[in-house]
């Protein structure tokens, strides 16, 4: 759910800036009758929709397959293959499936297919998976009749409809004995979605044709080509040259110029991805933290709320959003993005206040500051390394001498897992505040599946109790109120330092439109002619 796979390299971005400044005006735009060619930024590893829960794979899969529950562009739940669902009691959910839905081979979609699909993720051989977390709450599924599915959960669990959005429904007939090669060759690639498999060239493109029997409003395009172009400047160039009709993840260096080009249209919205800084709150001597002479400190400064507040005040979020991110960010104060379930609009981003930060540091017993090392990826989030450098400079300005250690995500994550970092940058996207809290803020607990990404091991029983109440509540209004309260509490205590919510953007021919999606997904069937 949460990874942007746009591969960036600072040099390539700089080169693309040159490229576009010079040539932004010249574009050959050709109109292709009812064909849409989209440039995607992430590498697709497998066409099996349940093999690997990575955004590029799911982007492609969601053209062919659908899930029981769907989400609208603002991440709010809407009906998918299930028309309605309700909790019969605290641990039983009933899903009423849509009637008259046909798979690409013409066979009808039934509750059998749904039950099969919910059980399948855990049975795929050799799959690094990622889907098990979405079905771990399920105790059993019962097919009541051809269009009614009952799901029993192990414990009261309100987020089941959100979780089931990530499980795509396959055809039992075709997927039962299919291996990955059957999906990549298209044989088992039979879904209910708006598009059907036509041709696939791994690492290059997937071609699709419209599923004429689709239950939804027929998309405008007979044929869709999804091209995989991870290099940012090349993706923009292909759009400018008229070879692509639309691209996702417009590089921040190009966005201003693309915006000025009247042959192109840009749509953007605040993404669900929140960029944050985790702080070590469990070791007395966290690695990389010392006094100004390099000697260990008596206590872990991050455990002091005043220090965490000082760090938050020392960061000029507006400057980062406007200059470093070139407008592709919104200063953050919440655990989830605006509009996402559990967002609290009353929380305002901490204003920049260097003097206040210095005062708080002095109060906490560090009048001259201390030394820290800030770690983070340099190829994962928008301008991630520049953000790290800026934060380091801002902190150094108030006395916290900060050294940056940026590395590719693979190396960075390896260090985090070995607990070699104490102050680290992470990006996170989620449908709901309580789900975010479960991964990022709840104390790590392998049995319950809590805190898998709570690198700083922040622990707050009050937040956790509220979060558990929220997750256990099948009444959505009640659940949202609880999730909001828990999230607010965690943020007031600065469980981590929120930096900004990323802005996600699409660029397309001027005669096209796309409703920008908070979850960053790019769907051909949501592009419309203007």
């Amino acid at each position: 759910m949460g990874y942007a796979c746009a591969m960036k390299s600072a040099t390539l971005i700089q080169a693309s800036r040159l490229l576009l400044c010079a040539l932004i005006a010249v574009t050959a735009v050709q109109a292709h009758a009812a064909e849409l060619r989209i440039g995607l930024s992430g590498e697709v590893t497998s066409l099996d929709p349940q093999f690997l829960a990575a955004q590029p794979n799911l982007t492609v899969a969601r053209h062919i397959f659908e899930s029981l529950t769907d989400v609208d562009p603002q991440t709010r739940l809407i009906p998918g293959l299930a028309e309605r669902w309700r909790a019969i009691d605290a641990t039983t959910w009933e899903f009423n499936l849509r009637r008259g839905v046909k798979f690409h081979d013409g066979s009808p979609f039934t509750a059998e297919d749904a039950a099969f699909s919910l059980a399948r993720p855990l049975s795929i051989k050799g799959s690094p998976g990622g889907f098990a977390a979405y079905v771990r709450a399920i105790a059993s599924t019962t097919v009541v009749d051809t269009h009614t599915l009952r799901v029993k959960t192990k414990y009261p669990y309100g987020a089941l409809p959100e979780d089931l959005n990530s499980i795509l429904i396959v055809s039992k007939k075709h997927a039962l004995n299919a291996g990955p090669e059957d999906f990549d060759s298209g044989r088992a690639l039979v879904g209910t979605g708006p598009y059907k498999y036509l041709r696939y060239q791994r690492g290059d493109r997937l071609e699709l044709t419209r599923h004429e029997q689709w239950w939804g409003k027929a998309p405008a395009w007979d044929k869709v080509t999804l091209r995989i172009v991870p290099a940012d400047p090349s993706r923009t160039a292909a759009l400018l040259a008229g070879e692509l009709d639309a691209i996702e993840h417009v590089p921040s260096a190009d966005i201003k110029n693309v915006n000025k080009n009247n042959k192109l249209n840009v749509t953007q919205t605040t993404s669900w991805r929140t960029i944050l800084l985790h702080l070590d709150q469990y070791r007395t001597q966290p690695p990389g933290v010392s006094d100004l002479n390099g000697k260990p400190l008596a206590a872990n400064p991050f455990m002091d709320l005043r220090v965490r507040r000082a760090i938050s005040k020392a960061i000029n979020r507006t400057a980062i959003a406007e200059r470093v991110m070139e407008g592709l960010a919104v200063p953050a104060a919440n655990i989830v993005s605006p509009g996402v379930f559990g967002y609290n609009s009353a929380l305002k981003a901490e204003p920049y206040d260097a003097e206040g930060a210095k005062r708080l540091l002095a109060e906490a017993g560090y009048p001259h500051g201390f030394r820290v090392t800030l770690a983070g990826p340099n190829n994962r989030y928008i301008n991630d390394e520049q953000v790290l450098q800026t934060v380091a400079q801002l902190l150094t300005r108030v006395g916290i001498q900060t050294r940056v250690e940026a590395a590719p995500m693979s190396a960075f994550l390896g260090r985090v897992r070995k607990e070699e970092t104490s102050f680290a940058l992470l990006g996170w996207g989620s449908f709901a505040a309580d789900l975010s809290l479960r991964s990022l803020v709840a104390a790590p607990n392998a049995d319950k599946g809590y805190g898998a990404w709570n690198w700083g091991r922040y622990a707050n029983p009050k937040v956790e109790a509220l979060m558990e109440q929220a997750l256990g509540s099948v009444d959505r209004t009640k659940r949202e109120a609880l999730a909001r309260e828990a999230g607010t509490l965690a943020m007031q205590d600065l469980a981590f330092i929120p930096l900004h919510h990323q802005v996600v953007s699409w660029a397309m021919r001027a005669n096209l439109n796309y409703v920008p999606r908070t979850d960053e997904f790019t769907f051909a069937h949501h592009f419309t002619p203007r």
């Binding site: 591969m7 690094p128 091209r227 991870p230 995500m409 190396a411 994550l413």
Partner: protein, 322 residues
């Protein structure tokens, strides 16, 4: 014969050391599951996937498993794609091979004549401009050249496509794009980008060789015999300077195939280099190991071919005794 055997033994040792290094290296960096898996995954799910891929075993055991498989020709299954690593590589190989060969063809067919020209009349303005071109070819970084070519020929002039591979036709079951017009149009820019550095190299090499050869006694005798200048160049200069050129071109072909990575990334060319980058990004170890092993084999093969070519070019060299 002993020479061939010795060489084979060395090659196998190289393969072994290489695979060990890559194994240890990837192991030291981190767990591929952390990178591949959806962040919402909890600890149990991460542990489950790690165990499923055999990554929870000690390093020596993982290596031993790989080693046993490799002896039987099984280089493991890609973590990210669940397809045998070698299948992924072979699937991408035709794209890279045709890109590298086309680049080499461009470099050789332009480089040798231009180098000769520059070497024969080193003071002419033509020679000077050829040398300037070669300096530029050396100096410019590949990705920049690629982007500039895209910018001029695709975006501004609209003559050629920006990225991707064109229509392919099957030649003996191998999908190749160099036999279709669309394919050639897609091939031209990346091949030129890739060729530029090699072109510069070949120009310099040929020019130096030519200048050197022109001062030799055999050239003087050939002229004294009354041979025309073009005959001197054709039958005396060229054969003598070709040996170092063939060596370098051979080795460079290997590096073109193995390291076309930047060009493939800029042009979204679905070749092996792009596969390697993607695999490194997610620590897809089976693919990284298989790729490097395949590369080593390729180098060994090319070196062997170069040796054989020597024998053809120079009667004094007998294959097998060098």
């Amino acid at each position: 014969m002993t020479y061939v055997l010795r060489r084979l033994a060395w090659s196998l040792a190289t393969l072994l050391v290489m695979s060990l290094l890559v194994f240890a290296g990837v192991y030291a960096i981190g767990n591929p599951v952390d990178l591949l898996i959806n962040p919402q995954a909890d600890q149990a799910e991460i542990a489950r996937a790690t165990a499923l891929l055999g990554l929870d075993r000690p390093l020596w055991e993982q290596y031993w498993r790989f080693f046993r498989g490799a002896l039987g020709g099984d280089l493991g299954i890609s973590f990210a794609a669940s397809v045998p690593a070698i299948t992924l590589i072979l699937e991408r190989m035709p794209a890279t091979l045709e890109l590298a060969l086309t680049a080499m063809l461009i470099a050789v067919t332009l480089g040798i004549p231009l180098g000769l020209l520059a070497g024969l009349r080193p003071r002419s303005w033509l020679a000077r401009s050829i040398m300037a071109l070669s300096t530029v070819g050396f100096a410019l970084p590949t990705f920049w050249v690629g982007l500039m070519l895209i910018m001029v020929f695709s975006v501004q002039l609209g003559w050629l496509p920006t990225t991707g591979r064109g229509t392919t036709v099957d030649v003996f079951g191998i999908p190749l794009s160099m036999f279709t017009v669309d394919g050639l149009r897609h091939l031209l820019l990346p091949a030129t980008t890739l060729a530029l550095f090699k072109l510069a190299l070949l120009i310099r090499l040929t020019r130096a060789g030519t200048q050197d050869a022109m001062l030799q006694d055999y050239v003087r005798y050939a002229r004294a015999k009354g041979l025309s200048e073009s005959a001197v160049v054709r039958s005396h200069v060229l054969p003598n300077i070709l040996i170092p050129i063939v060596t370098v071109a051979g080795l460079e072909l290997g590096s073109l195939i193995a390291f076309a990575i930047v060009t493939e990334t800029v042009f979204a060319w679905p070749g092996m280099g792009k596969l390697l980058i993607d695999s490194i990004n997610v620590l897809d170890r089976p693919v990284i190991v298989a790729y490097l092993l395949a590369t080593v084999c390729l180098f060994i093969l090319i070196n062997l071919l170069v040796d054989l070519l020597y024998a053809v070019l120079d009667p004094r060299v007998k294959s097998g005794t060098t």
